[in-house]
Symmetry: D2
Subunit: 333 residues, 4 copies
């Protein structure tokens, strides 16, 4: 049984609290949030202790692992605390928006040996993972192109935008990681980035984007396209296409039911796809957590590492540089 | 070059006139119709001679083949005339609605040797034909079930109904033939039939049906289901499913374009399927005719014979007997 | 919190034990099975008491509800015991294979008032249920046809067959119930049944079937087709098609992932569908149980009643009569 | 009746000869090719005159229109000749590989008034055209993204490559035009281009590409992605996705039949898609030609103009500049 402290009890923290509670080998002991109301809600629902300080949550002796789902700027601090206390760490993406803070954290924890897993949940989606495995097994021969479509159902509020670090670091970072996941040991070396604010007034106000397109190139010459939007009225559009010398695999969208309608106006009409990430990646979030529990109990190496978190941020930063300069930027890890 | 006379210049006759004219090895010489206006229209459009009598159309020396698309009750008379004149014959389904007339015709032409092909066009649809070929090649192992869905877009008028010989003989006859086509040399031996008049006032008035379901059994024990409707608001629903020990093949519906729509209400929305048989089976009608021209020019045996036409009618008659008696009827060919 | 006794700890009983344990408002107190090993396994996994007798399991004061998943011949006895003990009852299908025992049971419990729910799980499948709801809301206008395809992945062993009561009572009974579910208050009044033993030696030995087709007719004239097989090599084929005056709805099959493959031989290649009922109807089993817990805690009326269980059996019996006599049989409830 | 001269009797010329011959209002009078064998073949098949010189073909009094399907470097010469002779002109893409020659040609013909249509056939594909029309009608609201996937089945030989002018000018030019078609009066203003030679030795030898990706931006900020490959083993992959504020439309691939296979390894298996452009765009080629005949007979304005041909080349040239410089290039028309 792995005993957990949960840092952060907002939307994503609550989801994690439920996943921890439902896992046969995990137990939620403490929850901490600066927002006491949120912390109380989770403490009550999960019958765990509301910690009065991060220290109480992280350092308590009866805690084996810390799940960090708090505000992004607190991530590196909690990682460092937990690593020094010898606790296993699961941290939501991104590690931080500032690469300097990420590097500093890495330096501070370099002598600790706790397992750290970063929350790139999409790697655990059974469809995306099946496509990746097919690439590994060369079922499509030599990989030549990747096309990732990733569109949110609707834009977030301005408060979210202010803290999110920009569209590329907040959203595309998932797709950068997914591209790295599929590429395996073939690193991305170049990027060209386009960003626009076409419809979201808040994005415009923040000089942020709501629509973006990217091309990346790997060392072996694989070309990767990513496109993002803050708004897809038909739901959370999540598609991955891998193309190679022997064929193509598409990890396609999923509808909640398998119902098809036929009327005098149209045929094969399916439901809208899943609304957003909590519905779409429900299985992925569970399997991601299960994998982390296995890392702790069976001393296996995490499948998504601190380096993965750092490298995705490096690509996002290069994307911004490409966008600003209007040129292809070389990526150095 | 095969020179044709066309008997009948109504809707289906006009379609055949166009197919004959477009064929590189066929030539339309004469057209005959009791309705002079129709005959004139085809004669003008196809630049052929309007015959003043069936005899002129059929017996003229410069005619090699007769395509019979006239009213059903005239079929056997024209077949007999053409066979005795030594002309190759393509005759629209059904041969006749009365099995006695069919048998009499068969007797009258038994000593003639002209090729006769019956217009069961669906056998030539490339998708249905591919399913049938897969059955022959045992791609689904041993055949165990066939499910045929065949629904018209909208009911015909009462005049059509009065002459059509009943829903089973007019419409299901195509599906009976399709079942026989897929079964190959395994004959159907039993049938159970249900018919209802659920929505079409004309069908009710005529004590005819607009909705029907059938189960047939072959000698080897293959079970076949057919369902029919006179009205499918989404278009002409034409599906064939064959199921066996090693898998299943579905010859599915087809939409005019490959466009898919995604909105805030639904996804993967396709167009309505083809409206009716002339659009849906355009390729089949052409290939059927091409096959007939080959029979004439290369002296090959027709792929859909007079016996096929007769046997489909025998099944339709057994279907009516089953319906009337409320029991499973044995079929004897 | 509803405290349960579980009768039967075989494959389906184990599944129910897990569902009870995972439910936030349910608690597994006792398990009983004539097979002590099975009972011990469940008692251990679910941390509940292994009852030494049906009486202990059913009559214990700390038990609110009894879930009956034991061998079919024991169902009516346990229902009667539980009803007389005032416990809520969830009973797996079928109630019994013998309509006399079902009627006797009904008579014995007529003065009891406990809620009884029968395990027709498919009614709770979100896709089938959506199709049914669309029928209720007349989204397809007036219902005219239902086509149910229901094929198991592989035949069971001979021991199962010996106890199962025949293909129609064991398997088609689910489809008979599903047809009744979709029809609502329009009862089925006629049936025609075909059964064959085409591939399963055990079925042949037992004079049972492995392949079957049915047509049913409702009072309003709706025609219903059902086809069944004991073997579909591509998985558990579960499709429901409802067709009406304004369109069609298909509750289609589901694949475990949304991956599509494209090679030099084929395109849009999807995985095989779910292997069997436990995977395919996972959501339905959970929602079915949740509904039952609601009946107990909120005193609502069960959505699948004892009468539903009885009526499905009556149809199955009529199917056998139709099969034996080779005729359409009228159904009386 | 429009009388045609055909310049060029190679593969694409032969296809055009057949289309001209089959058209009810067109007539093929002359064919010219430097390769006399090719010219003879077409002359014989289409029963037209083999011209001994371009002048004979183009200037003959009984010729109304010239269809130019000869080698690319001859296009502008023949356009000029035909325009000065007052003949209507249909010219295959590209007008030329050299923008200077295109401009010179434009200058030479500026005072002529013959209709000129360029062979961007994809605009006439009924699925792509339906997507474009939906954009015009704002069925997807405001356009925000376009994703074009365009992959050939297999690389051409080295002789073709030598004359083709590079992958971007030979292949992507179709997609540049398709993007312009969908954008309507919103011009593209920027491009970023990536090209690789991953598998085709001939492409490597020629310092050409076999794999490419592009991002374009329109004046209104619409982002457009194009990806190309010289080899897709599953067939000629032609997809267009348009995405906007109210939804998405995909013009998807098409398989020759509607057959789906289900086995113990996979389900919903469709045929490979159409092999290449002649099969895939058969309808588009015919409708394109029909449109041109209408321009000639009804004096309507061509839907694909000389400017369209020139502008697609300008984008291709900008793509090469972007590729060479590793930066986003501004496009000036």
């Amino acid at each position: 049984m792995v005993n957990f402290s949960l840092m952060g009890a907002g939307r994503i923290g609550k989801m994690h609290a439920e996943i921890i509670s439902a896992h046969p080998n995990a137990n939620l002991k403490y929850v901490y949030d600066v927002n006491k109301k949120f912390a109380n809600e989770v403490a009550k629902a999960s019958k765990c202790i509301k910690a009065n300080s991060p220290e109480e949550a992280i350092n308590s002796k009866d805690v084996d692992a810390v799940l960090i789902a708090s505000a992004t700027p607190t991530h590196t601090k909690f990682i460092t605390m937990a690593a020094k206390a010898g606790k296993a760490i699961f941290c939501e993406k991104p590690i931080d928006l500032d690469i300097k803070k990420v590097n500093k954290c890495l330096n501070e924890i370099k002598n600790t040996k706790v397992p750290i897993q970063i929350g790139f949940n999409r790697r655990f989606d059974s469809s995306h993972a099946k496509a990746q495995l097919a690439r590994v097994k060369k079922e499509i021969g030599e990989l030549e192109m990747i096309v990732i479509t990733s569109r949110d159902p609707e834009p977030p509020g301005i408060d979210y935008l202010k803290a999110a670090g920009g569209f590329f670091r907040d959203t595309t970072i998932h797709d950068f990681d997914l591209a790295r996941f599929i590429l395996g040991n073939d690193p991305v070396i170049q990027i060209s980035a386009f960003g626009e604010a076409l419809f979201d007034k808040n994005a415009k106000k923040q000089k942020d984007h709501d629509t973006a397109m990217f091309i990346l190139k790997s060392k072996k010459g694989v070309l990767i396209h990513i496109n993002n939007s803050r708004r897809a009225v038909y739901g959370y559009d999540q598609r991955v296409e891998i193309f190679g010398s022997k064929g193509m695999i598409i990890s396609n969208n999923q509808t909640p039911t398998s119902v098809e309608r036929y009327t005098n106006r149209s045929t094969t009409v399916k439901d809208t796809i899943h609304f957003f990430f909590i519905e779409r990646y429900e299985q992925a979030y569970k399997d991601q957590f299960n994998e982390f529990v296995k890392c702790v109990t069976k001393k296996t190496k995490p499948k998504v590492t601190f380096e993965d978190g750092k490298n995705a941020l490096i690509i996002a930063n290069a994307a911004y540089e490409s966008y600003r300069k209007g040129k292809v930027v070389n990526i150095k890890f």
